[in-house]
């Protein structure tokens, strides 16, 4: 299993190469996800009859990290969604992007995403979960920003990355706490440690972090705004990532962790409340939109809210209903997105007001759209009907808040049904407008995917056969086996009556659809503006910080650097000064004279009117320092310093004789400021030198070198031996630096002489 997942990633260069070619070749890429679908179907079946499949791969053995995978009912179901819908998307994408300059990039990123998403749903290691989780966010970022020349795309991509990425950080925090409490990185162990986790003081932070991660990823209020923004992505991406798979990662997380941390008032009420609010709010927003993709985006947010709502109610029946809803939604919503993509691709518009009668030019697409719309409305014999039936039945039976919950669910279902009609039905019926008469028919590669997905909805006909796998998937969430009987006809039951009422309400709303769009949009709930505001404030702050610090003036950089270092050293030094004056080496007159010479030379260099004076002062100071080296047992240093100072002085004179006179161009205030800063820093160095001189740190190195020089290196000058023998490699590096500098100097001088010649 680990091998298959990693192979998907390894195939992405191939996808880039093959994806660049014509659709005929690019669609061959679908063979891999098709193979994976078959493999996971077999895996699901064998997990159903035997034990869950496990596989592990050593990742970073020194840190005890391993990539462990576990295929149980829930993971298997999600893996099937990822690979099955992925197959449709690869074929569809190959035709959608036929001839597009970035088609290879699209397929490669898609394979990367598939790897990450399979990792999320199959891994058993909570840290690997985090890594895969962030990888899905990253690939989503790349795909939203696919048309990277549009500023809207870039903005949406960054927005999605920031919102879901911060949720990912919360997931990391939750993972760290879970490992802390249970002592294990295995998610399976976590689900077995429910008692321990719920009683632990870390329970509250764990739940809050997990929910933050889930709500950001699955676009729940108040983090929902990134998903409609993500519609800037090409439609195949929206269908796959932002409807069928990635946005369900949050749902998966909550379902997966339900046995571990679920079952408390905090968990249930938070999820149910957030889910219900999002479900209703987003459904209301969806029906007001006129852009097909925006309608689908908000209806996806609403559907995700519904799933959270069902998960939050927390009875075995509602958990099962949530799992059923996930499957039904993935099928019909994926189809509708792909249908929208075809409409957009062929007509160039997604405006509901301009689209009608397309069944004449896009007949197969119309069939796919119709199938999906009926499933979304919840009509028999579609899977959507079954999913809604078990949801109604479960909500009716749960003890928490039956009437209110049921009312909310019926209303949201009716609004979502309306969305289905608006996208899958309305564009195809009626009179074909004049400007759409030239619409070209869609190629089979385009309509094949949505038709297949849409037909999957009719699997509701085999309701009985669906019970077993669905129950198996739900068992991972519920924690135990429970009876589930799916059937199209249970007799006249309350759920059936509710279904009839829902469909009636949907049709009523469809009849009045133009009126609904005129309803006001609640501005207070527009959290996207909060996000924009926060980002704006951050921009403003960073601008205020970086402008004064980085004003492109060299002296400012030096000043900032000096003041910062000075402040740090000064604080450290003032805490550590211990000077015992009696231990000082006594003074000698000629040494005092040398030091006075150096000091005088330094001051002259500062006050010099001409560059030449300053150069000579620098030389004098250098000679003075060389003299002190000579007096304190460092003849090598003295010799080197003498020769270097002489050379420097000569070069300086050559270069600077044509320089202008020193004219003070800075203001008096700036000079005083610089003087104070320099003197303060000089004072620090004074204290630092004193402290280090009086407390010399002996590392034992000098005695080692003293002993080893004659015996190991056969040299008598220890300093030389260190340089050419013990630290010979350093000296080699030093020579390299000198050579580089010499080449640089030669090159610059060469340019200069060339320019002179040119003149």
């Amino acid at each position: 299993m680990a091998f298959l997942i990693l192979t998907t990633l390894a195939l992405s260069p191939l996808a880039a190469w093959l994806g660049r070619r014509s659709a005929r070749w690019a669609q061959l890429l679908a063979l891999w996800p098709l193979f994976l679908t078959i493999w996971f179907a077999r895996g699901f079946h064998s997990a159903l009859t035997n034990e869950p499949l496990t596989d592990r791969l050593s990742w970073i053995p020194s840190m005890g990290l391993e990539l462990s995978f576990r295929l149980d009912g829930l993971s298997g179901l999600f893996a099937l969604l990822v690979t099955g819908i992925g197959t449709c998307i690869v074929v569809y994408g190959a035709h959608y992007f036929d001839g597009h300059p970035y088609s290879g990039r699209f397929q490669a990123t898609l394979f990367g995403f598939m790897t990450a998403m399979l990792g999320v749903v199959l891994t058993d290691n909570v840290l690997a979960l985090f890594v895969f989780w962030e990888l899905t966010g990253f690939t989503s970022f790349l795909l939203i920003g696919f048309s990277h020349r549009k500023s809207e795309s870039r903005r949406s991509a960054i927005q999605a990355l920031i919102v879901t990425g911060s949720g990912g950080l919360a997931l990391l925090a939750a993972a760290a706490l879970l490992v802390q409490v249970t002592g294990s990185e295995s998610l399976f162990t976590h689900t077995q440690s429910g008692e321990l986790l719920r009683a632990h003081p870390f329970y509250l932070p764990i739940v809050l972090c997990l929910l933050l991660a889930a709500f950001t990823k699955s676009a729940q209020f108040p983090f929902h705004f990134w998903l409609p923004g993500a519609m800037a992505a090409p439609t195949p991406v929206s269908a796959y990532l932002h409807s069928a798979t990635m946005v369900k990662a949050g749902v998966y997380l909550v379902a997966r962790m339900s046995p571990a941390v679920g079952g408390t008032q905090l968990w249930n009420w938070t999820i149910a409340a957030v889910g219900a609010f999002t479900m209703l709010g987003a459904a209301y927003r969806a029906v007001q939109e006129t852009d097909l993709k925006k309608i689908l985006a908000y209806s996806t947010v609403s559907a995700l809210g519904t799933i959270f709502f069902l998960l939050g109610l927390g009875t075995p029946a509602t958990l099962t209903a949530a799992v059923g809803y996930i499957v039904a939604h993935a099928c019909y919503k994926g189809t509708l997105f792909l249908v929208t993509g075809i409409i957009d691709h062929q007509t160039g518009t997604r405006d509901v007001a301009r689209l009608a009668g397309l069944r004449r030019v896009l007949p197969v697409t119309a069939v796919a759209g119709g199938l999906a719309a009926l499933s979304m409305m919840g009509l028999p014999p579609f899977f959507g009907f079954l999913a809604k039936e078990i949801a109604y039945e479960a909500v009716l039976a749960q003890p928490l808040i039956p009437q209110v919950a049921l009312g909310a669910l019926v209303l949201a279902s009716a609004l979502l049904g309306l969305c289905g009609l608006l996208v899958g039905y309305a564009p195809f019926v009626g009179e074909l407008p004049q400007d759409l008469r030239e619409t070209r028919r869609a190629s089979p590669g385009l309509w094949l995917g949505p038709l297949l997905l849409g037909t999957l909805g009719t699997l509701g006909l085999f309701a009985g056969a669906l019970s077993t796998p669905l129950e198996f998937a739900a068992r991972s969430v519920v924690g135990r086996a429970l009876p589930l009987e799916l059937a199209l006809w249970h007799g006249v039951t309350p759920p059936l009556l509710l279904s009839v009422a829902t469909v009636a309400l949907t049709l009523l709303l469809y009849w009045q659809r133009r009126g609904i769009r005129r309803f006001a949009r609640p501005r207070g709930l527009n959290t996207a503006r909060l996000y924009d505001g926060a980002v704006g404030v951050l921009d403003w702050i960073s601008l205020r910080i970086s402008r004064p610090l980085q004003d492109a003036s060299l002296s400012t950089y030096v000043l900032v650097f000096v003041v910062t270092t000075g402040a740090l050293i000064g604080t450290g030094l003032s805490l550590s000064i211990r000077v015992h004056l009696p231990s000082l080496v006594p003074l000698r007159t000629y040494e005092v004279l040398i030091v006075l010479l150096v000091v005088a030379a330094a001051i002259t260099a500062v006050r010099a009117r001409t560059t030449m004076t300053a150069v000579l002062s620098l030389g004098t100071a250098g000679y003075g320092v060389a003299l002190t080296f000579l007096l304190y047992g460092a003849p090598d240093l003295a010799m080197t310093q003498f020769s270097v100072e002489t050379l420097t002085a000569i070069i300086f004179v050559f270069v600077f004789w044509q320089f202008p006179k020193v004219e003070e161009t800075t203001s008096r205030v700036a000079r005083i400021r610089d003087g104070v800063v320099s003197m303060a820093f000089g004072w620090y160095i004074f204290v630092l030198t004193l402290v280090t001189a009086i407390n010399p740190t002996s590392s034992g190195l000098s005695s080692f070198y003293a002993e080893a020089a004659p015996t190991l290196a056969h040299g008598r000058n220890i300093v030389n031996v260190i340089l050419v023998d013990f630290r010979a490699l350093d000296t080699l590096g030093e020579i390299t630096v000198l050579v580089t500098a010499a080449v640089g100097v030669a090159a610059l001088l060469h340019i200069a002489s060339q320019e002179k010649l040119a003149r």
């Binding site: 002190t628 047992g633 044509q658 010499a742």
Partner: protein, 111 residues
Amino acid sequence: MELLFALTAGVLYASGLYLMLRRRLAQLIIGLGLLTNGTNILIFTSGGLTRTNAPVLAADALETTEPFADPVPQALILTAIVIGFGVLAFSLVLAHQVHRSSGTDDVGDRQ
């Protein structure tokens, strides 16, 4: 004597920094030279000061005569002097080029 060494290092640093904060490249480079000297003094002092013996063995001796100056900082400073020279030479030529192409070595108003 440590007091005098500290004074030297401090003055070299203060004057070097002040020159580096000016807007002229010539002053910047001279300041850098002073700063290099100050740093060498600082490293030199950190090994402890002794006037008596250089870290060199006499022709026939197997051991150094105690006390001798610490060879480790000396090796470091030797490297620093040479590298400092390289940096100085390169920045000088660079400044020369700036002066040639723009007619001034004032970098204060360059945005």
